[in-house]
């Protein structure tokens, strides 16, 4: 940090942060406070957290949900990065249509997806939990699509793609060695959004009769609400830590000054 940088107090900004902070952090802090209460002694302690990590199912379900979220992220990137690259380069009118279609998951009730999946998916698909990542992908589409779209809009895509191709890169290498690193910020945002949405998805999962971490937390809450809150707090912290580690391990490269 350079010396002499002063942070000016801006009342409007402070008020905005205060309001946002109230709605985001106060419920979380309250939940945390609630989760460390020990009703028997009337004080605070880690009883419910210790109980949670001793629960065999805790790691089973959180790992399962993280695995499904990971697969969803891969599907999202494999499908959306090449598709959006093509849409941007072709300047096709189809882009507007697909942009509109990508918003549909926001307006179609999740129950419709679930019923539709049960009616239309072949039995071998319904018999595997891997049907979930494909449906999670659809649910994450409005956010993932926009995040990548913004990234591709912010770079001179046509020029750097043509430069890469004329320098000898095929399409796969152009995408993996040039486009994805250049829009790294958007890709990381897409990974975070898709991962978080998949990890917390409840309605679709329960309607399709699968057990994941959110459905297990609901089950636990029936008998031990404080334990369920402790588990929820951990489910918030663990993926956050994982995503932070991923971000730290992906080398930071300078992309300032681009178009």
């Amino acid at each position: 940090m350079a010396k002499g940088i002063k942070i000016r107090f801006r009342p409007a900004l402070a008020a905005t942060l205060l309001i946002l902070g109230f709605f985001v952090f106060v419920p979380m802090i309250s939940a945390f406070e609630y989760s460390i209460r020990t009703p028997l002694t009337g004080g605070y302690g880690w009883t419910h957290y210790i109980w949670a990590v001793r629960e065999e199912d805790f790691f089973h379900y959180i790992l399962r949900s993280m695995w499904l979220a990971g697969v969803t992220v891969l599907i999202t990137l494999f499908v959306l990065v090449p598709t959006l690259t093509w849409l941007h380069l072709s300047n096709s009118k189809v882009r507007g249509l697909i942009d509109g279609l990508s918003l549909l998951p926001l307006v179609i009730p999740v129950v419709a997806f679930a019923v539709g999946a049960q009616i239309s998916f072949p039995e071998f698909v319904q018999n595997t939990v891997l049907e979930l990542p494909f449906l999670y992908f659809v649910l994450a589409l409005p956010y993932a699509f926009r995040s990548l779209d913004i990234g591709l809009n912010s770079i001179p895509l046509k020029t750097i793609t043509e430069a890469a191709r004329s320098a000898g890169a095929n399409w796969l290498r152009t995408i993996t060695t040039v486009i994805v690193p250049v829009i790294r910020g958007s890709v990381m945002a897409t990974i975070a959004l898709t991962f978080a949405l998949s990890l917390g998805e409840y309605t679709l999962t329960v309607l399709l009769h699968w057990d994941t971490f959110p459905t297990w937390v609901t089950y636990v809450a029936q008998d031990n609400i404080l334990g369920a809150i402790a588990i929820s707090m951990m489910s918030l912290i663990i993926p956050f830590l994982i995503l932070t580690v991923i971000t730290l391990f992906v080398p930071e490269r300078s992309t300032q000054g681009r178009k």
Binding site: I155, P156, T159, I160, E162, A163, A164, R165, S166, A167, G168, A169, N170, R173, T177, V178, P181, V182, R184, R253, S254, T255, Q256, G257, R258
Partner: protein, 346 residues
Amino acid sequence: MSSKSLSLRNISKRFGNVIALDNFNLEVGVGELVALLGPSGCGKTTALRVVAGLEHQDSGTVLVADKNISDVPAHKRNMGMVFQAYSLFPNLTVEENVAFGLQMRKVSKHVRLKKAHELLDLVGLDSQSKRFTHQLSGGQQQRVALARALAFEPEILLLDEPLSALDAQVRVNLREEIRRLQLSLGTTTLFVTHDQEEAMAISDRVGVMNNGVLEQIDTPDVLYNKPASSFVAGFVGTMNRIPAHITDGMVEIFGSKVVALKRGNETGKVHALIRPESISVAAATAQGNAKVLTRSFMGASSNIICQTADGTIVQSLMTSASTGDLLPGSSVQLRVLSSEVLVTNV
């Protein structure tokens, strides 16, 4: 350097109803630098992109060293390309950018970085190798782009208006540098530009394009002095179009007769095409045949704009030393200095 010859045979390309290339033909010899010059929309960039494989022609053939590469994808053509917009990869350092083409060819890291440093040394940027591209000026970025295009020893170097986005002085320096590198490496080069000075300054031959066809391709000298068409005459350099009469192969201009190079009618009204430096202006002792409108001092030379009695505007380029008494409004005598002039139909 594995430089090769380039041939475009009967290339046609349309974009919807617009004809970008119309049965276009071009031959570029080994180690030659050919510029394609023309107004916006004449098809010069399309021709370059067809060579690069970034556009596919509707018909015709692209040959490199007599080998048909018409259907070879862009990444397998082994052609280095420099674009108008700085096309460097912002996530890579300067040396990584230059080494990119070699990385794609699976050259070992040690060898490709060594080669990258050689090229950066050639363009005078070796000291900047660890920097990111946004930390460089526009001219430096284009130098890096040039080094990147040459690093993998391309068969053909393609330059798509690489100087257009640069400041005037940087343009002049960089175009000389491009020529120096091209000559020392012997790379066959196709250079697209709309700047005739740029094209004439560094090219072995210049092709003038109009409406998707090559109007004329010649050395800069021939192109300037013996334009093959009225369009070329008007596009390359400044050309006066002076109404005149032609009789028996002689054209009468400013009261004297000059041999007509036949491009128009044998007799009757024509336009004589005369370069400004081929017209002299002298202060008239009696009634002159024109009067001075403006005189622009440009250092060693001055540009004199005159108007004849019939209203024709005539431009003359003379050494400044001989134009001191040519004040605006003064009566002057115009004279054609060349012994022969091009004529075109009215």
